[in-house]
Amino acid sequence: MNALELRNVSVRAAGGSPLFPPVTLTVPAGAVTTIMGASGVGKSTLIDLIGGHLSADFEAEGRVVLNGRDVTRLPAEQRRIGILFQDALLFPHLSVGDNLAFGLAANVRGRVARRAAVAAALDQAGLAGFADRDPATLSGGQRARVALMRTLLADPLALLLDEPFARLDPDRRADLRAFVFRHVRERGVPVLMVSHDPDDASATGGPVVTL
């Protein structure tokens, strides 16, 4: 079964009480589920847990299962779960093209093929010819689109969106939201988004869970 499943997942600060009641949910492939909640409730911590990035200050319980495989104990880089953060987090020492090449899955072999894949991704993002640019010279919206492309090039089996539109101007937000959901749906992978913006949730057309 191709889905991202959370089974009785909860997190607590080391020695503290749980941040939220245990969560159990299933995100089928191709669907977008939104988790809502006030800031500070532990939404981003839940994303960290699913992606394998939980810091040692936290203790977690429950299981994360991706496509039938228990990934709870796997290191982040072996889970194949892509994340889109609030900030684009493009690597400042690499060009835009090299940022994408860093993400591009290793099974795309050969210089020509890899370059073509990067160029195609830039094209899809409406940024054709940007490969040699310094990421610091891009606008916020352009950076967010590169970040999505970089995540998708890694060929993830599931996607986590951690308030990816919160830092953008309201008029850009709608554009980027449409862009992200269009590309994400094409992938047909389970997508879990956390947000505190009701517009984000209604744009997905998927179920909404409140923490």
Partner: protein, 569 residues
Amino acid sequence: MKTTEGRALRLLVLGVVAAGLALPIMAGLWETGRAAFGILPAIGAEQPALVSWRQFMDLPGVRTSIALTLWTGIASTALSLALALGIAGAIHGCMRAGRVAQVLTPFLAAPHAAMAIGTAFLIAPSGWIARILSPWATGWTLPPDLATVQDRLGVALILGLMLKEVPFLLLVTLSALTQLPVRDQIAAGRAMGYAPGAVWARVIAPQVYPMIRLPVFVTLSFALSVVDMALILGPTTPPTLAVAMTRWFLSADSGLILPASAAAMALAALAAGSVALWIGAERVVARVGSARLRRGHRGLCASPAIRLAGLGGIVLLALGAGALLSLALWSVAWRWSFPRALPDSWSLAAWTRPGTGWQTALEQTLILAVSTTALSLALAIAWLEGEDRAGMRRARWAEALIYLPLLVPQAAFLFGLSVVFLRAGLSGGMIAVIWGQMLFVFPYVMLSLSDPWRALDRRMDRAAAALGAGPWRRLVAVKLPILLRPVLTAAAIGFAVSVAQYLPTLFLGAGRVSTLTTEAVTLASGSDRRVTAVHATLQSALPLTAYLTAIGLPAILHRRRRGLSGFFA
């Protein structure tokens, strides 16, 4: 699981640091202590006895040496701290920290020995200042009979120490200031009727001081036990305790080793006592300060004090620049008769004449500096990466482990360590010297790299992991390139520390390893200023080149990456 692997790495590094750094210091202190109480089998002394202490106290001029040590150590540290805090107040808001760091670079890079030799060339009766002022202002046609260097009160030594310590403490202060909302607090204070200088003294300085307290203690401990600078600038009959102790240790009369060990222990006790005294003074200042603060006096007098500190900073900067410049000048001077401001004739003879030995010294210096820096950098990166992977913060005792070699006066344990190395068959070789220098190179590399490493956005690492990059690829392809500038800066600092080492090279090299520093210090007591100047110039040029590389290389490599150019500049 990444946590266990990280824990293993972290444990391994801590083990290496404890065994490689803390253990030798403990063993060195232990052996020196045993010798101080009469036990040194190597020279046939096997019965515990207090006689070495009586011998030590009976040596000529010991009481004066102790007084001189305390006076020069405490006075230079107190003055340097006051001046650094004052200068920081004067320039804060006018100059960016990065710009200040660039101006200070030559002073931070120059080893103590080179700065001491340059200072002597500058302020001696026949020095550059006297030459520039003579005969038109002073009427001197011959060097005057004044003790401006090696004076009985140690003023020249205090000045020399300040030339090195003020830039260091100033840099530490400025980097601590970046963590405070200084501008807002000054604005708030001014709105309540306090002048900027008064806000600085009452509000900012008390917040900064706790952040720079350990570096201040490091400075104090260093000033109390410094040997190379005290040999060149300090009083001679009697000298400071550290110098006297070194002479006794290296004397042909092996009967002096036991009293010298007692002197080393006394020096450690003096350092501990001085730190205790300092902490007591901190309490008094804090109490008096807060009492004054509660009275609410607006006391406008702090602003002139800050202006005075700014002036002092400029004078110090000029003296330091003059000292370094006079080194270069003497190295290419041929004839330079007294009252002339510049040499009569110039020559590269001191550089090209065979037999001056600077080539061998340069080679040894480079081997030591490159190997200690590379090892220290690898260890520091392994430690920080281990902390990252384990997701654990540094324990206080681990932080103390880093500071240990800088807080214990090196004169107190280096002789004992040489005894340990002798027994292990390491003595007199490069390995012994590399190990000994690492004790001081590693802490500075580690301290310099820790803050920028932690300041790196954690999510960069997470983003790379989410793209499928394993821990090694994240380290090599993401973290280290982003941290290129601080990594190179840490390397430059380590390089400079290694080049400057005098006592570890002397004691652990058993006279068989001679570097630019040991050669320069030996030559400084001789007569040929030109050859001394060649060694001291090279000795300053090496670290300066390292610093310039650390500034220049990232600027070139990352010239098209705006996101990195402002990182620490």
